[in-house]
Symmetry: C2
Subunit: 308 residues, 2 copies
């Protein structure tokens, strides 16, 4: 459905810019009262991501442009929200995908934004190129297919002048990966994650004009993404384990750990922090995020409660 | 999870009665102002099912027991709600699974109810037997497995005295069949049908202690039950077809057709009735039920609308 969507959505553009959609967590970075501050979704200031950003982002940018807000993806294994190892990032890295003016919210055109980030040595998400609107869909499908078995998530398609909202297009693999995560904690996330992602799979199968064998493989992968993590969760709980999501953070300053612990508590996240382990000049802290609803539901069903 | 569920739920019983859960639609039949009347779920009087019931149910029962309400399943191909051919029923048949007293709602014990129905030549759902509570789970799993590739739905497990609520246990095949139906009309039914049925599959896999190969087969079937009907729906709509559910009714009296048409309109069901076809002393009427939401959603996505 990509072709009609692009034609319809970008009717006022000649070209579109295609950038990578990375799999991490979305943050906004700005200067507030002279300090670099990082907000996660919902507008909360995350003390952990703020510490990391201070190391990753060249402060000169904000000295010269105090009114800019950097929107980007925090990616890597030391992520308390979306830990991913497949990008070959050591701890946590930051990739800008959007720059806006603080109060107006006005966006910077794609190329100007990328040039500015380069100037200050700040990374941008990968740019695959600019394509004519009427031909972009074939290039995008090639890009997505070139991801192959890597877990790269997809692309974001943009008006180079940033006057129109961006459009996202994701790979089936990343779609199924999301489902796998959601169904490991099925009673916490399963319901919300499910419907849109399943529908995308069906439309993509038709869009790509799959033969029966490819469609059946897609079904197998979809079924496995949903059922296998749930089965594994049920077995673990049956064996007396508690289901938890294991994440980790890596900090220079131990104060950040207690601030982050307090922050998660305020967000209502049930998390158990292990004792910090000193590695080089940093501390690695392993965190267990407990998804209580899945633990509780599974236990009551195993105990003979009816599904309801 | 059947064993702990039965032990917990039927703690006050020595035995349970296991009857078949048939795949049709659930109705209640009673005498109202001297007339046999059939209510479907929600308490609406269905003119079509009422005409059929008058043929199927021996009126003498209500002459002798005017205060009874028969709860049963309407099953067969001439069903405007849940048409099924696999029971080898010619048109539509009625199977009692519960009998209650009109105002009190008091139920009749299982054996007494079955004897009474036999007396008046009214069919009951199949009784697999009575089993000790602590051993019923193995018999029930054998029964479910003996269904094999037939589409029989499952069993209902009852306190023989009917003092406790009944418990249902369904087969994976029938579970997947429901999903297949729901995802053919995905935007009308997909969301509601999905979650409970998927979770049942995962728990059953653990309950039956499946090896990896069986679990993968279950995933394949689940994935196919969800994705293949959606893909087929999208392709049909792409080819210009309208998605509809084809059902049929068979009546003696043409008035019933117009009454039923009016009834569906009142329920908000969008249906197109074909011209009645005379077969023997009856009329067969084919009906297309239009599931508008799936048609509309698919068309807008095919037309380039973003998923939202």
């Amino acid at each position: 459905m990509l072709y009609p969507a692009l034609i319809k959505h970008f009717s006022s553009c000649r070209k579109v810019a295609v950038e990578e959609k990375m799999n991490g967590y979305n943050v906004r970075v700005a200067l507030i009262k002279g300090e670099i501050v990082v907000m996660t979704r919902g507008g909360f200031i995350c003390p952990y991501t703020t510490e990391k950003a201070k190391d990753l982002i060249n402060r000169d940018l904000f000295r010269d442009h105090p009114d800019l807000v950097l929107c980007g993806e925090m990616v890597g294994p030391d992520s308390p929200y979306v830990p991913k190892t497949f990008y070959n990032i050591g701890s946590l890295d930051f990739f800008v995908f959007d720059v806006r003016e603080k109060n107006s919210g006005n966006p910077m055109p794609v190329n100007e934004r990328r040039r500015l980030m380069d100037e200050y040595g700040i990374k941008s998400v990968h740019l695959f190129g600019e394509f004519d609107v009427s031909e972009a869909h074939t290039s995008i499908i090639d890009i997505i297919k070139s991801f192959g078995d890597t877990l790269r998530e997809g692309v974001v398609i943009k008006d180079p002048a940033m006057l129109l909202p961006a459009v996202k297009y994701t790979s089936s693999l990343s779609n199924c990966q999301d489902l796998r995560y959601a169904f490991e904690f099925y009673n916490d996330f399963g319901r919300d994650f499910f419907f849109g992602r399943v529908c995308r799979e069906a439309f993509q199968s038709v869009e790509w004009d799959e033969d029966e064998e490819s469609a059946r493989k897609r079904c197998q992968k979809l079924g496995e993404s949903i059922l296998l993590p749930m089965i594994s969760t049920i077995k673990k709980i049956k064996a007396g384990e508690q289901i938890a999501e294991n994440v980790q953070i890596r900090v220079k300053n131990l104060n950040t750990v207690s601030e982050f612990e307090e922050y998660l508590r305020l967000l209502g996240v049930d998390a158990v922090f292990e004792i910090p382990e000193k590695i080089g000049d940093e501390y690695l802290v392993r965190i267990k995020k407990i998804h209580q609803s899945t633990n509780d539901k599974t236990q009551t069903i195993l105990g003979g409660q009816m599904w309801s």
